[in-house]
């Protein structure tokens, strides 16, 4: 084993760690801190992405602890892109003090995501989970002046650590039964004979831990408070980056390690295995997430419950199983992550301008900022699954894969449920858009951050929200991603398919 080679193959992670330290030091050292810290963090992320592009096509270190393949490279870059947008978001919206620490935590969480994505070994996966989790707990509770933020941090931490305990317990059972921590080796052991009861317990506990990470019902209870209370960039990153990486790992674990214990979730032919477990999680998430979201008046809370529902849709691909199903899941979760970061970016700007993120704070947004409202429309409609946006194609891909997989339309029940759910979801997304485009702003809502009240009832252009260049560019590029992935999803789909070709 050659440490130089390790350093070469782990260059992205190493670069990020270095950047995190530099940002931390800069934040402490300079008084002009915030701007420089953001710039350095962004530059570090870009360098790490470049380093990923320079990696060899295929490599495996330490029996799967660090795996480099087209799949891991693709999703490492996606995680880095999400982190990049979060850095831009963090620059504008919150925490001018302690910016360095905040960004350092963000970078550490990103390293965790890269480890998660790029590992096929239980120990390493757990370390990745914990690194991400611990950084995110702090990020959620970072706004010390806000009680809600503290609440979000504490809830996220308590639920998260319990879930981690479940995962660790499950993983140790799996290790105990199989005597190995490599995913591939576990898969061979599972395939060799009938699944032992303890192994079943291990599988279920592992799944529970991940169900927490992806906020699937009934393990979603932390999500509404975390999404609502945490500083906006933290919430955006929890909802996007953490979720994408969790789905990648979950997919790899269930397909590679537990693959033979698939079972069946077909309506008349349920067979015990992890697929029915995920199917039940998906069904519960779709129903609970959509129904509860109907009653929300806070946009971030609404997004949280809708995130629960979307976790349900995304699980459909895994329930369907196989490369196709996993591909559909990956496509959906990626588009969802970019959409959600965009939505949170809009929320952050509205919050900055009006001091709140209730639906009524969005009233009349279209007359104040056509750009913000246009982007919000794109994000919301993509979440609702309307063409020609990415969410629509993602749903089509997922549902058609699920229908094909069950054999004789066995998963029809789940697809019907998901379609019903997305029908319900249009209502609450439209409620937000109605506020944006139809309603007039409530008097007094347009308080600036400085406390000055803007006049109401003047000409429509009297109170335009001013966005600086970077915010503008990042919003437009996020909206463009959502639009392009909807209009021309072909190349991304085939990229995912090619990356998955090595999986069983």
């Amino acid at each position: 084993m050659n440490y130089l080679e390790l350093l070469k193959l782990a260059a992205p992670e190493a670069l990020l760690a270095l950047t995190a330290l530099v940002v931390l030091a800069l934040g402490l050292a300079t008084t002009r801190g915030p701007g420089i810290c953001s710039a350095v963090a962004a530059a570090g992320i870009l360098c790490a992405s470049a380093a990923i592009l320079l990696l060899p096509e295929q490599a495996t270190l330490f029996r799967g602890m660090l795996v480099i393949s087209p799949l891991t490279s693709l999703f490492k870059i996606i995680c880095l892109a999400l982190a990049f947008f979060t850095v831009i978001l963090a620059r504008g919206s919150c925490t001018p003090r302690h910016r360095g620490e905040y960004l350092a935590l963000l970078l550490l969480a990103t390293i965790g995501l890269l480890l998660l994505v790029g590992s096929e070994e239980l120990l390493m996966i757990f370390i990745g989970l914990e690194l991400t989790g611990l950084s995110l707990y702090v990020m959620a509770g970072f706004d010390k002046t806000d009680q809600r933020s503290a609440e979000a941090g504490l809830k996220y931490f308590l639920f998260g650590s319990t879930a981690s305990a479940f995962t660790l317990f499950g993983l140790s059972l799996v290790y105990g039964m199989c005597g190995t921590t490599g995913l591939g080796a576990i898969g061979e052991k599972v395939a060799a004979g009938p699944v032992a009861p303890l192994m079943t317990a291990g599988i279920v506990m592992t799944l529970i831990g991940f169900a927490f990470k992806i906020a699937a019902a009934p393990f979603h209870l932390w999500a509404p408070d975390a999404y609502q209370g945490a500083p906006v960039p933290s919430a955006a990153f929890i909802a996007s980056g953490s979720k994408v990486a969790s789905f990648v790992v979950l997919g790899k674990i269930v397909l590679i390690a537990f693959g033979p214990a698939h079972g069946s979730a077909a309506w008349h032919a349920m067979v015990a295995g992890w697929a029915p477990v995920l199917a039940v999680l998906a069904a519960l998430s779709i129903v609970i997430g959509n129904l509860v979201a109907l009653a929300q008046s806070n946009v971030r809370r609404l997004l949280a419950y809708s995130a629960v529902a979307h976790a349900g849709y995304t699980l459909l691909g895994l329930v369907a199983g196989g490369r196709d199903g996993f591909g559909a899941t990956l496509f959906y979760t990626t588009t969802y992550a970019f959409t959600l970061v965009g939505a949170f970016a809009v929320v952050a700007m509205v919050r900055h301008e009006t001091g709140g993120d209730e639906i009524k704070n969005f009233a009349g947004l279209s007359s104040r900022s056509p750009l913000l409202s246009g982007c919000m429309a794109i994000f919301m409609l993509s979440l609702a699954g309307l063409p020609p946006l990415a969410g629509f194609f993602g749903k089509f891909y997922l549902f058609s894969t699920a229908l094909r997989a069950g054999g004789n339309h066995g998963l029809l029940w789940l697809v019907v449920l998901a379609l019903l759910g997305s029908f319900i979801s249009l209502y609450y997304y439209l409620t937000v858009l109605k506020a944006v485009f139809v309603d007039d702003p409530e008097p007094g809502i347009l308080k600036l951050a400085t406390g000055r009240v803007r006049p109401i009832g003047g000409p429509e252009t009297s109170s335009l929200i001013s966005l600086d260049f970077l915010q503008r560019i990042s919003l437009i590029s996020l909206a463009a991603v959502v639009l392009v992935l909807g209009l021309l999803p072909g190349s991304f789909v085939s990229q995912i398919a090619a990356a998955l070709s090595s999986l069983p």
Binding site: P387, F396, F399, L403, L419, L430, K434, V438, G490
Partner: protein, 495 residues
């Protein structure tokens, strides 16, 4: 060439967002006119209208085998033509939109472009993309520029459409999972198993038929039409309801002929109930737009009945009725929404009957008389040509249905004449000013009566265009039927 209708319309929509508001209506008019001219030229140039001939075919999502595939036959061309026609007059009838005009025409053009797209798509996925693309613009058109309970109407209409969309989505995903392709030309040759057709056909047909206003899922139509701004009602009743009927024919019936066989009598039943029920309800409405809204449901019942006959005459008549109703509904809503409501700010029939509008607005009265005559099915207008063809077709398949429908047509005549008399030709004239307290008057009404505002040139152009179309189709239906019938005869369910 016909594919350019789609590109022109979407280009115009995007152009609108970048232009200052002064140009908005001119850009919209130019776009709609260009689309209309293209569809007209394509309609008259077409020779072999029996085949669903490919016009553009490009790979779109090669991994999944989805294509950007545009094709047209006689049915598509006819419906593209009525889309262009209605689009031009809808823009003319919204000439006075001052509130956020760019956005208004943007959404309007999205509806129009999406409709062209649905009529011309030869790939089921593409068709569905266009089909769903129409949903959201409708919401904003109604919720922002509408009147009378607009937010309720907008949400109701959108959710009904999306419910239909979800059913269709299910059908499409299942079709794709079964056949492995979504190309309509290929699927039209694919043999689906009978059990699959038995459940997939009703799912798909019902999903589309919700948009066509099938009873008992029709209630979105009157509510939505009433709440919509004039151009919105014209497009909704004129084109959007046709999207559902067209797609039901092109997709559900043509792909699943055996399923259609099993379910066709139920479709006929629902169609007949729709004709009679909606006509009876229309007879009792106080709001002029509700009368017209229910008349749309009643007329769309004819389309469903025609489709259910499963013979060339009935189905061809249904397509002719789609054209005819597109024109007539647009004309009726134009009179009710733009010519009357914008001037009187009430649509209450009793209130209108106090105004004797025939004297104040003679052109409106003239237009409404023609539209009513066409709607009642007086010979010489397109409504007669279409309905008689449908009934001839239905006579072969469901003789009883024809008898019941005959009774329904009496009701249609009754409510149309009632509305006509109350609106324009009432004998109890009590002056133009409204008796306050009795009449529901909308918020934007001011004391200054606008009745003296004469009918503008834009309104006249729009109305004359539609009147010409209904007369042309009524006096010489062969022009349309020559193109429709070969296409219908090529459909699979006839064999």
């Amino acid at each position: 060439m016909i594919a350019w209708t789609i590109y022109i319309t979407f280009a115009g929509a995007i152009g609108l967002l970048l232009m200052p508001r002064f140009f908005a209506r001119w850009i919209a008019l130019a776009t709609a006119l260009a689309g209309f001219v293209v569809s007209l030229l394509a309609f008259f140039e077409a020779h072999n209208t029996g085949t669903f001939a490919t016009i553009v075919r490009l790979p779109w999502i090669p991994t999944l085998g989805l294509e950007y595939h545009i094709a047209a036959d006689g049915i598509s061309l006819t419906l593209a033509l009525v889309t262009g026609l209605t689009a031009v007059s809808a823009v003319l009838f919204s000439w006075d939109v001052e509130h956020r005009p760019n956005e208004f025409f943007f959404w309007l053009l999205l509806v129009i472009g999406g409709s062209y797209g649905v009529f011309l798509s030869a790939d089921l996925f593409l068709l569905f993309v266009f089909y769903e693309l129409v949903i959201v613009p409708k919401y904003f058109l109604i919720a922002i520029w509408g009147s009378t309970n607009k937010e309720y109407g907008a949400m109701k209409l959108t959710l009904y459409s999306f419910l239909g969309g979800a059913l269709v989505f299910l059908g499409i995903a299942a079709t794709y999972a079964t056949a492995g392709s979504l190309d309509l030309q290929q699927l039209a040759l694919y043999k689906f198993s009978l059990p699959f057709q038995t459940w997939a056909f009703p799912v798909m047909f019902l999903g589309f038929a919700i948009l066509a206003g099938i009873w008992p899922l029709h209630t979105w139509a009157p509510t939505g039409h009433v709440a919509a701004p004039t151009a919105g009602s014209m497009l909704l009743a004129g084109i959007v309801m046709k999207l559902g009927a067209y797609a039901a024919l092109r997709v559900a019936m043509n792909l699943f002929p055996d399923g259609f066989q099993i379910w066709s009598k139920w479709i006929a039943l629902l169609g007949v109930i729709g004709i009679v029920y909606a006509a009876a309800v229309a007879l009792r409405q106080r709001d002029l737009k509700f009368v017209i809204g229910y008349s749309s449901v009643s007329h769309m019942g004819f389309v469903l009945l025609g489709l259910a006959t499963a013979n060339a005459l009935g189905v061809g008549g249904a397509v002719l009725q789609m054209f005819s109703h597109g024109v007539i509904a647009a004309l009726l809503f134009a009179v009710a929404g733009r010519m009357i409501y914008r001037r009187t700010h009430t649509r209450d029939l009793d209130a209108l009957s106090d105004m004797r509008l025939a004297r104040a607005l003679p052109f409106a009265a003239f237009t409404f008389v023609i539209a009513s005559a066409a709607s009642m099915g007086i010979p010489g207008f397109s409504g007669f040509a279409a309905e008689i063809t449908i009934l001839l077709g239905a006579w072969k398949a469901y003789p009883t249905a024809v008898l019941i429908t005959g009774a329904g047509m009496v009701l249609v005549a009754a409510f149309t004449l009632r509305a006509l008399k109350k609106t324009f030709f009432s004998d109890k004239y009590r002056g133009v000013r409204l008796p306050q307290g009795r009449v529901q008057v909308d918020d934007d009404w001011d004391e200054q009566s606008e009745l003296c505002v004469p009918i503008t040139a834009a309104e006249k152009c729009g109305a004359l265009l539609l009147i010409f179309a209904t007369l042309a189709a009524g006096l010489y239906p062969k022009l349309l039927l020559d193109r429709i019938l070969p296409a219908v005869e090529a459909m699979r369910f006839l064999k």
